[in-house]
Amino acid sequence: MTKQIHLAAHFPGVNNTTVWADPRSRSQIEFSSFEHLARTAERGLFDFFFLAEGLRLREHKGRIHDLDVVGRPESLTVLNALAAVTERLGLAATVNATFNEPYELARRLATLDHLSGGRAAWNVVTSSDAFTGENFRRGGFLDRADRYTRAAEFVATARELWDSWTPDGLSRPFAHRGRHFDIAGEFTVPRSPQGHPVVIQAGDSDEGREFAAATADVIFTRQSSLEAGKAFYADVKRRLAKYGRAHGDLKILPGVSVVLGDTAADAREKAAEIRRRQTSPQTALLTLEQIWGADLSSYDPDGPLPDFDPVPDSGITQGRTRRGDTVAIAEKWRALAQEKGLSIRQTVIEAGGRQSFVGTPQAIAAELDAFVQADAADGFILVPHLTPGGLDEFVDRVVPLLQERGVFRTEYEGSTLRSHLGLAEPAWKG
């Protein structure tokens, strides 16, 4: 059989992908928005709905960042509520392994799995900076090198807890003694419908890939070009054998954005307009400040780029933003601006990330399919730019074409997220 595509819906996040200034854009916090997108995803027979997390509001130049969406509800609470208004859709929460404890989080995840009838997933993230730590009892206590050793022990411990009740409903005491956790007692929740909620990993480093190969059911990646996707896919799948796992035990789902149009030209025009809206004059300057590590508020966004070199490791921005080698980026951007005669804003728009798939519904369906058949992915996490209607058109126009191609389900076959993803039920380790 042809490889089947998996699809997930990402609620628009707190970065400039989300266009809040659009007149169609609705609340980022009211339940009705979450309900709308989740119902759209379920109408489209998606595998799951996905919520990101950030535990400290971002700051720039010592002040709270105000240009993007700011603030969001707590993921697991929203997903429990969504379980009431959906029936089959998987429900995935991003929850940090550094600023939580295994007993409590395993319990909340098992609870979601019970209340949703087997639809819970946990995206394990590991950010552990001291800036975020200021909101927590523990503070910023973890070395970067330890973030995945703690995460691995955290997930292993959670699974011990999920296995601590027998499948026929008897609670048995557990004891876990490791480097990061030394705990014992009884778990309060019986084994949940999926046995273990689905574990997702999002992190690009070598350690992150290794952790995913050893532990995760799904990887959420950033690679969205065909070549980079194929390389990543081969690299991660190759690592599975070492852990006695089969090729299909880990699904690779890049986060992607899609722009649809009635013609190719129409779609390209829309995509350009969205990028322009994603990059307001203020956002363009801020992006530049993040790279240059300096205050550029006196620069005109419609004028030329600064001619001095960036300040490395300036710490001008705190929170979840990474830019890599800023000197090299600055050099590239200056060259680009020079060559095409671009202003600051035009350069940021031109050099910034492009939408992953732009075209007519037919072209998009073909491209998504080709991407999966070429082993660049097992499916996609779609990241819309509009709340909450950003996937309506995809579901109405692209999903039927994927179904026609025979690469996407025409109804939910099972009731659990594991069954949607084609993942085996975990064996009970008593």
């Binding site: 339940f31 002040r63 709270i64 105000d66 240009l67 509520a81 404890e101 909101n135 009892r137 014992a184």
Partner: protein, 349 residues
């Protein structure tokens, strides 16, 4: 104004539908709120999650899960409670409790069991920092100002810089200020240590006592202490908390007992009698000014809640003592509590 609430706890029940049914039944009885208890020490689901699942399946009834403060992160707890308020459109409460046993401490392996006094002092700090974090966003912080490109007015977001005796929190919250401003904080004030915390921070205090005179004495004390903490005592509702066994008949299952009022048991004061006698008791305690209302824990979860809703409530309504519909939409509306002002409003961030 009489306030009524009920517990929807059901031992060994792990499916959503059972909790939805009971909450809907309570809503049919126009109760102010339902509670769902929680502890790490006994089997049971995470209560806040259960009531989040219940929220979209109900419209008006208040939802009050227990969330403990000893082994949890104050920042996560306040975010979850605020989110329950968002998903229920202003119906969230939070019953604070502490984890006192060494067995619970071993589940976390972070600290040993501590004396109850220390734990309730910490619970007070958690209640305090939660309200600060709910206030760390002013109501109109989201501006979506296209000309300046700003989604929020950051002068309306505030670091809370809270320093407790055992933890600190920088803030602001990651969740915008919830619909009620502050979700309703509930504390069982029966024990002295918890009573201090209740007087200082609670919107609703529960007292487990077997007669109206005792209830009235605790209420007076709570109101006096609240005033000493600089609060308006009228911002505190005191509810008598009773186990209710409404038996099998219309009237007292135990002859002579139903009319005689509750008696103390190891589980707390137990009312055993018929729904009619219970209405009598409620009217009499409330009429004497001893309490602002009741919190009832059904002995048999479904049977006794049905009897309360279909038997006791109509009698109280008939006598004009209890509402026949919800005039408001938030839990604060039901309780007659004002939406609190923001403690940071107008301050520089």
């Amino acid at each position: 104004m009489l306030h009524l609430s009920a517990a929807v706890d059901q031992p060994s029940v792990y499916d959503a539908a059972s909790y939805v049914d009971l909450a809907r039944l309570a809503e049919h009885g126009v109760l102010d709120f339902v509670t769902l208890d929680d502890t790490f020490a006994r089997p049971g689901l995470d209560a806040l999650s259960v009531l989040s699942r219940v929220a979209p399946a109900t419209n008006r009834v208040g939802l009050v899960p227990t969330v403990t403060t000893t082994h949890t992160e104050p920042f996560h707890v306040q975010a979850a409670v605020a989110t329950l308020d968002w998903v229920s459109r202003g119906r969230a409460g939070w019953r604070l409790d502490v984890s006192t046993t060494e067995g619970e401490a071993r589940l976390f392996g972070r600290r040993h069991a501590a004396p109850a006094e220390e734990l309730w002092r910490e619970a007070g700090e958690v209640a305090d920092v939660a309200a600060r974090l709910w206030d760390s966003w002013e109501d109109d912080a989201e501006i979506r100002d296209v000309p300046t490109g700003r989604f929020i007015d950051r002068d309306k977001l505030h670091h809370v810089d809270f320093e407790g005796s055992g933890f600190s929190v920088k803030g602001p919250s990651i969740v915008p200020r919830p619909p009620q401003g502050h979700p309703v904080r509930v504390v069982d004030a029966t024990e002295g240590l918890a009573r201090r915390t209740a007087a200082r921070y609670a919107d609703v205090a529960l007292v487990r006592v077997a007669n109206a005179a005792q209830a009235g004495a605790v209420r007076d004390q709570l109101r006096k202490e609240a005033a000493r903490f600089g609060r308006n005592p009228d911002g505190l509702r005191v509810l008598a908390s009773l186990l209710a066994d409404l038996g099998d008949g219309e009237h007292a299952a135990e002859p002579g007992h139903g009319g005689g009022g509750p008696r103390q048991t190891a589980q707390g004061p137990l009312y055993r009698g018929g729904p009619v006698d219970l209405a009598e008791l409620i009217a009499s305690w409330h009429g004497s000014g001893a309490v602002d209302g009741f919190h009832l824990t059904p002995a048999a979860p479904r049977r006794d809640l049905e009897r309360l809703v279909n038997g006791t409530v109509p009698l109280l309504q008939h006598r004009g003592l209890f509402r026949t519909f919800y005039p408001g939409s938030t839990l604060r509306d039901h309780l007659g509590l004002a939406r609190p002002a923001n403690q940071y409003a107008g301050e520089a961030s």
